[in-house]
């Protein structure tokens, strides 16, 4: 179990992301049901049907919350139990386990409360709201606020407000999309659109107020924003939040036109809302990752200065030749161990044991190796973006451009982790315990999948419009992965300087994926513009990768 602590920590953050998504959808569903669908059901021709569907979606979300919570808490309990040597019951009395149990029980009790029998009367509204409030309160006890040394009550309240804002706005958007697709007339759209706009505004206000207060307490000053991992992640969240606001503004304009009985595109409302769901969920996973990073105010040493950022990002020619594998620090350490073992006539120990928590040694050749990898990956992505753009401009035979992704995936699989099979000593399976290796393999799998799907779609091997959606979705996921991709480097400053490069990469990746989504789903001028945007985002990713430096 000792060797699995890191990878379990990584998995627990993924599960925490799912928990936030499920929680937001559950709470958003309750609020949508109680404050929108039920009060206005009599005005909507399909009101009863919509109520059933929204309740069902909320029940599914509650079930998702139960599963994610049990898995997440179960993983944490297993790690603490086995590494500290405590009984199951003892670990279950830890605050995080108690909070998780309360959340699970609340979600369980919600299921019968959302059933049709309970849908009428005051109790049918009050009970879900009370259970939602109890669940939200418990959720705040697994945030930074509970473990802070001071101002716990204020920060717990602010965390609660933040999560409430996320739920009433982003968490309720799936219900909004459901309502737009099921309701068939302009009057219904007008009623739902106007009400949901107001609910969203409450959500936006809650997020801005709570986010500002948390920034004061957790980030502290301007250098905390750009000079720490916490600040950079918050910056990425803010950038995506602004994108959501712009999409929301677009939807507000449509809603206003509907309210004034003017012509408006409801299809655009739906498509923008779909993109809002995607970006919103990406923010939730970023938030889950944020809970595992120390607040910026606590990181008083090892902050990066603007000068260091400028020096690191000074233009330089890409590194197109690789150092030899046996010049890398880990190779040399292994050679030394092999030599010593041979003299003692013993079996050689491994220089690095995956999952041990001991970081691999690094020398100048390791840095050159990594830069070479990033720069060639940049060339691949730049060329892919360019070919996609030319293909869009009418060069038909370039429709095979997605095959370049397969080449890139092979390159990354072999080169990303030189200490691991096929180039290094570490076995393929044992290396899964290393978080960075696991992340690289996810990237490779994603790249292969979206490359193959897009190639099959473009060459007519797959005809379903649904298959075309795989590419934008997986590209967005890849962008989100980059947002939180970590390099296991003992130097905190170097690690942050790398993360600073990966954040714009991630944002460009997420933008690219959702622009392609709009190209496929949004008819008219909007879709056409999106069709030019996403290859340009790809090219931007390529340029940023070519700019990448580790020293």
């Amino acid at each position: 179990m000792e060797l699995l602590v890191d990878i379990f920590g990584y998995l627990s953050i993924i599960l925490h992301g799912f928990t936030i998504v499920a929680q937001s959808m559950t709470l958003g569903g309750i609020l949508f049901l109680v404050f929108l669908v039920r009060p206005f059901a009599h005005l909507l021709p399909q009101g009863a049907d919509l109520e059933r569907r929204v309740a069902r979606l909320t029940i599914y979300s509650a079930i998702g919350l139960i599963l994610a919570e049990i898995a997440g808490v179960g993983l944490q309990v297993a790690v603490v139990k086995s590494t500290v040597g405590l009984t199951f019951l003892d670990v279950m009395q830890a605050p995080f386990a108690i909070a998780g149990t309360i959340k699970t029980v609340c979600a369980l009790l919600l299921i019968p409360c959302l059933g049709e029998r309970m849908s009428r009367g005051l109790l049918g509204a009050v009970l879900p709201l009370l259970l939602g409030a109890a669940e939200l309160t418990a959720a705040t006890f697994t945030t930074h606020a509970y473990a802070r040394l001071d101002n716990n009550v204020l920060l717990l309240f602010v965390e609660g407000l933040h999560q409430f804002g996320a739920a009433i706005w982003i968490g309720a958007i799936p219900c909004f999309v459901l309502a737009l697709s099921k309701l068939q007339n302009v009057d219904s759209w007008r009623v739902v659109g106007a009400r949901f706009s107001r609910m969203s505004m409450i959500g936006v206000a809650s997020i801005i107020i709570s986010g500002t207060i948390m920034s004061v307490f957790y980030i502290g000053d301007v250098q905390g924003f750009y000079g720490t991992a916490y600040g950079v992640m918050v910056g990425a969240k803010i950038a995506m939040f602004v994108a959501l606001l712009l999409l929301g503004l677009g939807n507000l304009l449509v809603t206003e036109r509907l309210r004034k009985n003017q012509d408006a595109s409801v299809i655009r409302l739906r498509r923008f809302a779909e993109v809002e769901i995607g970006i919103g969920f990406t923010i939730f996973f970023a938030a889950a990752s944020l809970t595992s990073v120390p607040p910026a105010v606590d990181l008083t040493n090892d902050r990066v200065t603007l000068h260091e950022i400028a020096v690191r990002n000074a233009p330089a020619w890409p590194r197109l030749t690789s150092p030899d594998h046996d010049q890398l620090a880990v190779s040399q350490a292994q050679a030394q161990l092999d030599h010593e073992a041979e003299q003692r006539h013993q079996a050689a120990a491994q220089a690095i044991i995956p999952g041990s928590g001991v970081l691999a040694p690094r020398n100048a050749e390791d840095i050159a190796w990594s830069e070479y990898n990033h720069h060639w990956a940049g060339i691949f992505v730049l060329v892919i973006g360019l070919l996609a753009l030319l293909n869009r401009a009418g060069v038909r035979w370039l429709r095979h451009w997605p095959l370049l992704f397969l080449l890139m995936a092979g390159f990354l699989l072999v080169r990303s982790d030189p200490e691991v099979w096929p180039m290094g000593q570490e076995g393929f399976w044992a290396a899964w315990r290393d978080v960075e290796v696991a992340q690289h393999r996810f990237f490779v799998a994603l790249i292969i999948m979206f490359g193959l799907f897009e190639w099959a779609v473009r060459t007519g091997r797959l005809h379903s419009p649904k298959a075309a959606l795989v590419f934008p979705l997986l590209v967005s996921v890849g962008g989100a992965m980059l947002l939180t991709h970590s390099h296991q480097i003992s130097n905190v400053k170097d690690q942050l300087l790398i993360e600073l490069t990966h954040t714009p990469l991630a944002l460009a990746g997420v933008s690219s994926g959702w622009a392609r989504w709009l190209e496929l789903r949004l008819p008219g001028r909007g879709g056409r513009i999106a069709g030019w945007v996403w290859p340009i985002c790809f090219m931007l990713v390529g340029v940023i990768l070519l700019w990448y430096r580790e020293a």
Binding site: V80, H144, L149
Partner: protein
């Protein structure tokens, strides 16, 4: 399955692949001994101070001795809320203190702190 449902499913499936980085949550702000520091041999009080409240009962301190033997140290029950305090009888040599801290919000962080014990003057 309608196209809308399929879209929702894909969004959900997409999120299944999103991975997050596990960085240090609790930071070691101060300690006795300091990283790569020196202590005098004998019965030594040790202290590890963090930036957040720690669940001391569910955290762990392991001392790795010069001969690589591992000893689990008892954490003082009434340590300050953000500290892990302990003591041990140490003889001269190179040691590593392996700590694993469970923050009250449920995040586990671990780290190694190497130090040297020298003979008393």
């Amino acid at each position: 399955m309608s196209s809308h449902r399929f879209g929702s499913f894909l969004v959900a499936a997409a999120c299944a692949f999103v991975s997050m980085a596990a960085s240090a949550h609790a930071i070691l702000l101060d300690s006795t001994p300091k990283p790569n520091g020196t202590l005098a041999a004998g019965h030594v009080q040790m202290m590890f101070k963090y930036n957040s409240k720690i669940d001391q009962h569910r955290s762990r301190l392991v001392l790795i001795g010069p001969d690589k033997t591992e000893t689990v140290l008892t954490i003082v029950a009434d340590s300050k809320s953000n500290e892990l305090d302990t003591s041990a009888d140490l003889t001269p040599g190179a040691y590593t203190l392996r700590w694993q801290a469970l923050a009250l919000d449920g995040h586990i962080t671990r780290g190694d702190l190497p130090f040297t014990v020298v003979a008393k003057q």
